[in-house]
Amino acid sequence: MFARAGVNAARTVGMQSRNYATLREIEMRLKSIKNIEKITKTMKIVASTRLGRAQKAMALSRVYDEADSEVYTHAESAKVEQPAEPKSLIIAVSSDKGLCGSIHSQIGKATKKILAEKPTADVVVVGDKIKAQVQRSNSESIVLAFNGTGKAAPTFVEASLIADEILKLQAQKKYDSVEILYNKFVSSVSFAPTAKNLYNEETIKQSKGLSAYELDEDSNVPVAMSEFSLANSLLVAMAEGHAAEISARRNAMDNASKNAGEMINKYSILYNRTRQAVITNELVDIITGASSLD
């Protein structure tokens, strides 16, 4: 055993003195950084092309949402008093894929902050990344988890499938307050985790401003409204989150490519310098050898 350790030590010493191995090491390192740069550059280009589509989907869903949520502003649903200890549900919307900066951790932080205030709240997570984040600290709070969303711009079908499952849950647990947490797309360089309140039928019925509207008693409009709004809000949250994620990924990959470029420059210089040093050393060896023969 000691003998082997001795061999190893001898080997390291030998490598340092010869210099060839470090040259090869630098070369390999340089190659791998170049590969990484290629990957990040490609990812950036892919994200750039997808950004346009994602932003368009987001803009449309915003118009859709405005039309939908105007009622609640007029009806003053936000002012309805909640019970002293409301049963809350948090829907945290993010996605499955990483490499996009702090998108997922921001939502994770926001979720944990709310959970610290309302420890009894249940959490529904949309996306594997956010699931992993919440699971680390509050695994018992998660009641429902979805994945597979956010590969392309979200559609209403996806949103309504998720809404369907949440409605089943709502029927069982009767939550007093439901809020959606998502990344709001602010600009191409920034996003902000945002919470959006959803109103259940009771809240809608109790809203003061609702009396301004003519309602058909028989057709149970508040139920239809709250169910439809859930799907709509999910769609908007997913669309905003998707756009924010894509743009964050583009920025992250842009930075990564730049860093890789810097490293490539540094290592190329180091590589060339070492190579020259090795050649000089060899020349010195040869000349000394030749002159010693004289």
């Binding site: 989907a57 449309l60 869903s61 118009v63 859709y64 405005e66 039309a67 939908d68 105007e70 009622v71 007029h74 559609t155 209403f156 949103a159 309504s160 301004a212 509207y213 003519e214 309602l215 058909d216 028989d218 057709s219 409009v221 239809a224 409204m225 439809f228 709509n232 769609l235």
Partner: protein
Amino acid sequence: MFRTSLRQTSRAFNLVARRTYAEAAATGGLKLNFSLPHEALYENVSVTQVNIPAVSGVSGILANHVPTIEELGSGVVDVIEGSGVKKSFFVSGGVATVQPGSKLSITAVEAFPVDAFSPEAIKAKLAEAQKNVTSADAEVAAEAAIQVDVLTALQAVAK
């Protein structure tokens, strides 16, 4: 039954009463927001009248309509634009809200111009859905029942 007819007459009455009101009002007209998840058909466009297929019955909406919220069934939304051109869209369902200040917001899941449908395709789909209505699987049957509803409404308008 009397109740519904009463409601409809009162609705019609209201409509007539409001028609004069609308004409008396400034010519600002009705602002229409008609949006789908993937498309905004109208965004704050001034229109003359919109007919909506509410669950409680078809109703026409003019400027200065009283604020209301209606759940839409499957049917045709007629938009009569300022220039008098009428455009018809078939919607499968949604919500229409008249906001205070002559603003109508319609949010629907899907909407297509009526003339974009193929009657043959509707007929084929309808036959298939009707077959599934009697399915033993409750979920399949419920889905088929909704399909039949939408398709029969569609068949009546698409020619």
